[in-house]
């Protein structure tokens, strides 16, 4: 399996550590004693400042009683978590977050797989269509979301007019006002903006599969279907996995699409946990921080699952 990630993990290879045995060691004893620290120091500092410190602040805030004016009134213990779990919308928000993530990532991966394979085959106008696919990626997600919100507007929306003219619907509908129609539309937009990245990841994966493998398969008498399932799919797995996990985290955390289209409303009927966190911010920062901590825990679980799966992938190879 030539494509599988086999290169040594960062830091364990012939890095700065290898220099210890070199002749330069005696001359530059001071710096050398620090080992790799001067090189990774800035990166570590950056991680501490932009990752670890905010996480610490986040967790601390979730145990605070912060008044609506932003004034810290002291410790709240676990009260904010209790309030959060008691919110009437909390259960349905969790459920919808799972549905949202699974649906959007699932559809994105499937459609991207098809698109990537299409783009991997030569056809007239391929360059143009490949460029065109970048458009949803290049545009700001918030802009796309707001664009769709207006296109779906009941009184002024061009999509409403179009669908009415085509006879698909009887008259203009308030698509985003009703959770039952708002969810599918938001999922559609989420898939739309996730496609370029995923397709290009998979396309890159497809292009690394050497021709020889296909030739060998053909000589062995494998049919098209067999070649696809036995050669393409296994060799595409690393790229697929990367695309899948990054999408999973992105979609789970997705804020601008939902905020731009419905702001999670009515109430929190179209909110995922990330949007719900933001809604809570308007009434209780502590409770909102508690939601963030829960959210963070879920992302950590996702990442751990990813590590587990990727290791399995390595062993398998």
């Amino acid at each position: 399996m030539p494509v599988t990630v086999k290169e040594p993990a960062a830091g364990t290879g012939p890095g700065p550590g290898g220099r210890k045995t070199g002749p330069q060691r005696r001359r530059r004893g001071g710096i050398a004693r620090l080992g790799p620290l001067p090189w990774i120091g800035p990166a570590v500092l950056l991680i501490v400042v932009v990752v670890l410190w905010p996480i610490y602040e986040l967790i601390r805030t979730s145990f605070l009683n912060v008044s609506i004016s932003g004034f810290v009134r002291g410790s709240a213990g676990t009260e904010k978590y209790r309030q959060l779990f008691d919110e009437s919308g909390f259960g349905s928000v969790l459920t919808m977050t799972v549905v949202w993530t699974v649906a959007v990532v699932g559809v994105t991966m499937l459609v991207s797989l098809g698109l990537a394979q299409l783009f991997n085959k030569p056809f007239p106008g391929r360059t143009v269509t490949r460029w065109a696919l970048i458009a949803p990626w290049a545009a700001s997600v918030l802009m796309t979301a707001i664009g769709f919100r207006w296109m779906l507007d009941q009184t002024a929306g061009v999509l409403n007019t179009l669908m009415t003219d085509l006879g698909l619907i009887d008259g203009p509908k308030d698509w985003l006002g009703d959770p039952a129609t708002a969810w599918p539309w938001m999922m559609f937009v989420a898939v739309f903006v996730s496609l370029p990245f995923t397709t290009y990841t998979l396309l890159a994966g497809l292009q690394t599969i050497p021709h020889e493998v296909y030739e060998a398969a053909r000589i062995d008498g494998a049919g098209a279907r067999q070649t696809y399932w036995r050669v393409t799919v296994p060799l595409l797995r690393p790229a697929f996995l990367v695309g899948f996990v990054i999408n999973l985290i992105n979609v789970f955390n997705s804020f601008p699409i939902i905020w731009g289209m419905t702001q999670g409303g009515p109430g929190s009927d179209t909110a995922t946990t990330t949007v719900f966190m933001y809604q809570l911010k308007s009434t209780d920062i502590g409770e909102s921080a508690a939601m963030s901590v829960v959210n963070f825990a879920m992302v950590v679980v996702l990442v751990l699952i990813f590590l587990k799966v990727s290791r399995w992938n390595k062993e398998d190879a």
């Binding site: 004016s69 955390n253 911010k281 963070f296």
Partner: protein, 423 residues
């Protein structure tokens, strides 16, 4: 693989906490003998040319010319973000000296504000219209300084009502009957606009509740959000306006600005509005008229009055400078300019007299009339801002879900918050 892990974990974590990370430098302080006061104000404009920043910059320029030792740092924030931003400022220790926004009482609960007496000269204070000054009190002490006001009346499109052949409604039943007629005659796309979306659900709800003798609190200031009258009000709305399709399909997600824009575009028959709508309707060429708001059995005696507030924070200790600035900002030439700029109503006696007598504000006359008897939100309750935010978020669902449940939950939250605030 480890790099990937770091990147994704880092990306995930920073994406999560971005919304809550609060940072900011501490402004103010005195170097070279001048004192800087920080003014944060809401933006009342709807385009670049009438942004409130233009107004405040001008006021500050003239003020600084007169007071060379005081600098004013102006920050104008749009209505959607101002509450959150101010909250972040306070939490981050970067407290403004003067704030002009929609509510004040939550800051009183945390003892953050100067009393009005401490930052207004007696002359400026006595110039405030009494009912508004009163609405700025918490437990008998005035902290909130009214800045502008408005009152609500019913706007209707004359052409639409003529086409449908209906008279101006006086009661709820009239409203429903007129709306049905408008729908039957196809005189307007939206017969009655009922915006219960997050922008101002608390306002539209209160207007309707007042029509049934309800409201948010009783005479003692205790919350009565799920009172029988209120539940009945939303049941009526659902059965008579929402279910028959006489208003928007989803009032709970329809904002006031949508309703106003639709009215100005001639798509709406009737709605409750405030003076800003006058200019919008004129610009849209809509032949409108205003009338008292219909209640269950007859027009409302007292309509909803809304005031926006000015307040001064103790944190920076710049009492004298703040006082100088507020006295300057509340001079007639400034308040008049602001009120005329946005067609808002004054909160000071001299400006009110001027606006009523200078003949330039015929449009506002019906509003001036109802202003003295207007009912306010329970502004003096320090928990009101939280309660109001909850109503904005889910109050509109009372016309789609079970009103008893929705209002019951809001009542529960209101009581919890009030207890939390020590009311």
């Amino acid at each position: 693989m480890r790099t990937v892990r770091l990147i994704s974990a880092g990306a995930a974590a920073s994406a999560l906490v971005l919304g809550l990370a609060a940072c900011g430098d501490d402004g103010g302080g005195s170097e070279d003998g001048t004192t800087t006061i920080k003014l944060v104000a809401a933006d009342y404009g709807d385009k670049a040319s009438n942004a409130s920043k233009v107004y405040w910059d001008d006021v500050v320029k003239r003020f600084e010319a007169k007071n060379e030792d005081i600098k004013v740092d102006v920050q104008v924030i749009n209505w959607n973000d101002i509450d959150t931003k101010v909250k972040t400022m306070i939490q981050g220790g970067n407290v403004p000296d003067i704030l002009q926004t929609g509510g004040y009482a939550d800051k009183v609960a945390d003892d953050l504000l100067y009393e009005a007496d401490e930052v207004l000269s007696p002359k400026t204070k006595s110039n405030l219209i009494e009912s508004f000054a009163k609405a700025g009190e918490v437990d008998g002490t005035q902290y909130g300084i009214p800045f502008v006001s408005s009152a609500r009346l019913m706007f209707y499109n004359k052409e639409v009502l003529d086409k449908a052949g209906v008279d101006v409604p006086q009661t709820w039943d009239d409203v429903a009957a007129a709306a049905q007629k408008i729908k039957d005659e196809k005189a307007a796309e939206i017969p009655y606009a009922l915006p219960l979306g997050p922008e101002e659900a608390q306002g539209e709800s209160m207007i309707w509740e007042l029509g049934n003798g309800g409201g948010y609190t009783d005479a003692e200031g205790n919350y009565t959000i799920d009172s029988e009258q209120n539940v009945e009000t939303f049941e009526w709305l659902r059965e008579n306006l929402v279910d028959p399709g006489l208003t928007y399909d989803n009032p709970a997600t329809t904002d006031r600005k949508t309703a106003f824009a639709d009215f100005a575009a001639g798509k709406v028959g009737m709605l409750n509005g405030h003076p800003t709508l006058i200019q919008m309707a004129k610009d849209g060429g809509v032949d409108y008229e205003v009338a008292p708001i219909p209640g269950k059995d007859g027009p409302l005696d007292s309509t909803l009055g809304v005031a926006d507030w000015m307040m001064a924070f103790k944190d920076g200790g710049k009492q004298e400078e703040i006082k100088k600035f507020l006295d300057f900002a509340y001079a007639k030439e400034n308040t008049l300019k602001f009120d005329e700029m946005y067609n808002l109503m004054p909160v000071t006696t001299d400006t009110l007299e001027e606006m009523q007598s200078n003949g330039k504000h015929k449009d506002l006359e019906p509003f001036f009339e109802v202003l003295p008897s207007a009912e306010f939100y329970p502004l003096g309750n320090t928990s009101w801002d939280v309660v109001s935010a909850e109503i904005k978020k889910s109050g509109g669902k009372a016309v789609s879900d079970d009103p008893g449940d929705v209002l019951g939950e809001l009542q529960q939250k209101a009581e919890d918050t009030a207890a939390d605030m020590g009311e």
